[in-house]
Amino acid sequence: MPFPISVRAYIARWQKNGLIDEETAEALLSDVRSQGRRFGLGNTLAVLGAVLLGVAIITLIAANWEAMPRLLRVFMIFAVIWTGYLGGAWRQSRGDTVFSPVLYIIAAIAFGAGIALIGQMYHLSGDAALAALVWTVGVMVAALLLKSRALAITGMAIACFYLFSFLSDGFYPDRQYLWVAPVLAALGAGLAWYTKSRATADLVALFLLAFFLISYFDLNSLTVLWLTGAIGLALFLLDGFRPDLSDRIGSFGPALAAYGLAATLLALSVMQFEDIVRDASGRVMFGILILGLSIGALALSGRRNRSVRWIAYVAFSLEVLYLAFVTVGTLVGTSGFFLTAGILLLLLAAFVARMERRLHEKNPKAGASA
């Protein structure tokens, strides 16, 4: 299960309660430590600093591009790329966990800046999506060769940028993203596994959710939604009914299930939204489906999967409020609506609190139908 509290706190408690001895506690702690540090404030600030520095270099070169000869500008970009990667490798070889990723990220940004600057200096009017794709793949290759978590995350973040470049371009000029995006997601998943980076895996899941939504709005085809819903539901059910299989891939299994559930609920709510737009009468049916799925998800894997639980709560609450708004809301006046909404919210809060008590605190082994 994913741990809501720090694992260290658990280990300390178990040791205090006499569940495990000191030796086991030490072994567990060292294992936790070896599984990668928490992404602390220090690291976050360092990475943010790296991003800002990278952007500063780009804008400096871009702003002074008349003052500097072109070749000098190109040379500066090359210098930043080489310094970044070699410097990062040097820091990494010295065991520096802060400045090594920082330097790698600066180099990765410089590569993207190089693509943009060369396009600008030499009047290459190629499309933004292709440039973003070259950038993504370049950084992913870097992440692979250097086995760097920071670069894996950066690569996936740039992949998201690639996806959204289609949105801003109005899907011009091509729909290549329809097959490129799944390939990028597969590459990202491979990198997440290879670098053992949970953040990259999360980004891949979000990337896929965004991909499904964007391709739906682009193609305007309900098939995409059904497909999304079906894949998501399959992932969720697999984890729900065969936790033994899902646990084999560690904490990825439950996370996959949670994202699957999110995908299904998202697909259902978009269908419901379409229904309202077309003014068809299916809104109650989709409402019942969403509510039913949320409750079912809670019953099936709410106990062992915290992320599933919270997604189900959110979906259930939003749907109840929405249904109340379309059915009761039109009948009663404004103050009546607020009254209803207020009472509903309180009821939902009580419901969530009650479910949390039941699902969270009980030992998974104590009764399956509780």
Partner: protein, 191 residues
């Protein structure tokens, strides 16, 4: 193996080399088109005035940027997607080159005075014979120093700006120079 610094540095150098070569390749490719390509001169046309200046580049439109569907031979690769298109131009009066013919397939029998450009339709090619097909050649943008855009825009609106375009044997095009009334405005160095 990977814990050895030597390998780490080798990998880092490899990454840097890989990314630098991608950048280098795009510079060299353009330079080779400018150096080895044949030159044509196209008169630029005003684009929708509101779209002329975006950031620090001017959008250049050409006579061959929109072609009547009935003037295009062959069948597009796809009815629903953007399609490759091949357009030939030939010298016209007053040194500007003119549209000669177009095809969705590469043109094999190029005449001695013709030069073929490779473009891509802006949208899926329409079926109506009198519809205009928008075509991009990769020479639609010219980045300029900040603040100089307005002057070019004005001149372009008076139909005075000519673009010298270098075209490679396979039809890839790059802007070589911009001229105003025959006088050089900007000339592009190779690198």
């Amino acid at each position: 193996m990977r814990n050895k610094p030597v390998w780490l540095f080798a990998m880092a150098a490899l990454v840097a080399l890989f990314q630098s070569s991608i950048l280098y390749a795009s510079i060299v490719k353009r330079a080779s088109i400018l150096r080895d390509g044949k030159d044509i001169v196209l008169l630029t046309q005003p684009v929708d005035p509101r779209d002329l200046m975006r950031g620090d580049y001017v959008t250049l439109g050409y006579g061959i940027s929109s072609i009547k569907r009935s003037d295009i031979a062959g069948k597009p690769d796809s009815e629903t997607e953007n399609s490759n298109i091949y357009v030939t131009v030939k010298p016209g009066p007053n040194e500007n080159w003119q549209f000669s013919r177009a095809s969705f397939q590469p043109i094999k029998d190029i005449a001695a005075d013709e030069i073929m450009l490779k473009g891509r339709t802006r949208y899926a090619p329409p079926a109506q014979p009198d519809a205009l097909v928008g075509v991009d050649y990769g020479i639609e943008r010219y980045y300029i120093p900040e603040g100089e855009g307005a002057a070019i825009d004005d001149a372009q609106r008076q139909q005075n700006i000519q673009a010298v375009i270098a075209v490679s044997a396979s039809g890839e095009a790059q802007i070589k120079a911009l001229k105003e009334n025959g006088k050089p405005l900007y000339e592009e160095p190779l690198y």
